[in-house]
Symmetry: C2
Subunit: 310 residues, 2 copies
Amino acid sequence: MNEFDLIQRLTSSLPTNQSVVTGPGDDCAVLDLGLPDRLLLFKTDAVVQGVHFTAETDPEKIGSKALARCLSDIAAMAGTPNSALITLGLPREYDPAFVEKIYSGMSRMAKRYDVAIVGGETTTNPGGILISIAVLGTVARGKAVLRSGAKPGDALFVTGELGDSIAGKHLDFEPRLAEARWLADNFSLHSMIDLSDGLAGDLRHIVKASGVAAELHSASIPISRSARLAAKAEGSAKSPLLAALTDGEDFELLFTVASRDAVPLVDAWKKQFPKTKLTCVGKIVAGEGVTIRSEKGVLNLSAHGYEHFS
Amino acid sequence: MNEFDLIQRLTSSLPTNQSVVTGPGDDCAVLDLGLPDRLLLFKTDAVVQGVHFTAETDPEKIGSKALARCLSDIAAMAGTPNSALITLGLPREYDPAFVEKIYSGMSRMAKRYDVAIVGGETTTNPGGILISIAVLGTVARGKAVLRSGAKPGDALFVTGELGDSIAGKHLDFEPRLAEARWLADNFSLHSMIDLSDGLAGDLRHIVKASGVAAELHSASIPISRSARLAAKAEGSAKSPLLAALTDGEDFELLFTVASRDAVPLVDAWKKQFPKTKLTCVGKIVAGEGVTIRSEKGVLNLSAHGYEHFS
């Protein structure tokens, strides 16, 4: 049984209650606890030594990344983060200075977005350092953007550039909180997700949750300069385009709007965020799966790369 | 640097914001997000293979305990749990059936207290299974009971019996949610904590947070039958009394009320919870530290045992 099958089984019959608006399966859970104007967002995420970082990684960046990953999920719902709890697993032998730097990176990221760190738990974790963070946030009623609202005909947009992760962006990124709130305040977003698994993988989450298909246009994908350089330097088997589609950890926003909103959106965005790219990379259509259209024709795209039509 | 010193340093300058009513250092964080009648409670806790359980432990009990520990912290604030997120760290090789049973134990515990499990995260944790749970709850405004409100003259009460942990209670207990809410609804509780470190240790948290001292009466400590039997069977160096005071993981409530409330409280409790003991084990006095009075005299009590007066 692979990890996805296991998660599927574990989460298929979890207990729920009256306050749950959106349970497992989106970027955050959405809860209605009776706040007059807002819903709550609730999210957890973990990074682990030997999996997400090593003893050689800059500890301040480990801390800031650990929190920023959660904040990016709050952004993907068009929410505002409020507070965080930290679970810190430490091996029996550890360097206190390293751990303090993890905390200082986390604190700096928290301060930047007015997130309170309100407690946590320290425990022994024999295999290495593990940081699990739970974040609580809020979103205006009616403004939470789910993965499941994409409609055939929608235009598909992505912020920023893709493929920088390999050059270090995965450790050093800003969650797109302001951008997401501005988008939700000014346009009717049909669906949104943050890019953690790569555009190819995360777009599949949107189309699956929405019961639709997506067509990407290869010429439109905003490939970063470092992805182009990396592919060249390594004489890589992966083209810059494929790296941009599948490398993951870009932490950009991927979202859909009705096609009539596409042009006004691009115009307004340029005025609001002149330094950040916004690119229409394709459209939502009826059906299932993700395809990519290039000069060479149309290919199916899995989370990991191209597939020949079967 | 020991763990307590490290936590002290890590939590000494954490970012806060306007919504924080009570930050790190109590059983839960308390947040004011603008609910008209309630405050939010936010708590995280973790259990780790090789530290809190082994591969031989009943996996359903691992799951129910992992959640019940958090619920016990919500009880210690006189709150009501609402929802939980699960972070599950798994080694590269694991038994899916074992993991499913952890989840089923957790789900059963959640259902019993109407707690929704609204999501989570599965990650690789090379050293073994780790379960980190974040719980969100609520408490009526004005009813959250902190560790810091004990006053000289208060009577000190404990629910249930102490010392059963070694006989398996640490894996199989019910959080005292109903009892705590009833107490807070009907009496003015000055301070409260749940017993995870043992009465000797957790009482120190109350007296430290409140800036007071406590005197226990050794003859009043409600020592469980299994603690008496265990001490006898092992020919243990630890007396049953010391085991009851220091073994930890009783998950009973320890709280203080004004002395004038002590008798009415005991009377009302007997009617409300006839099957559960409630015992006055001592009183709060001015000063600092914890002492215990027996026929042999008065001894200082640390978290781990008796100390001679220095």
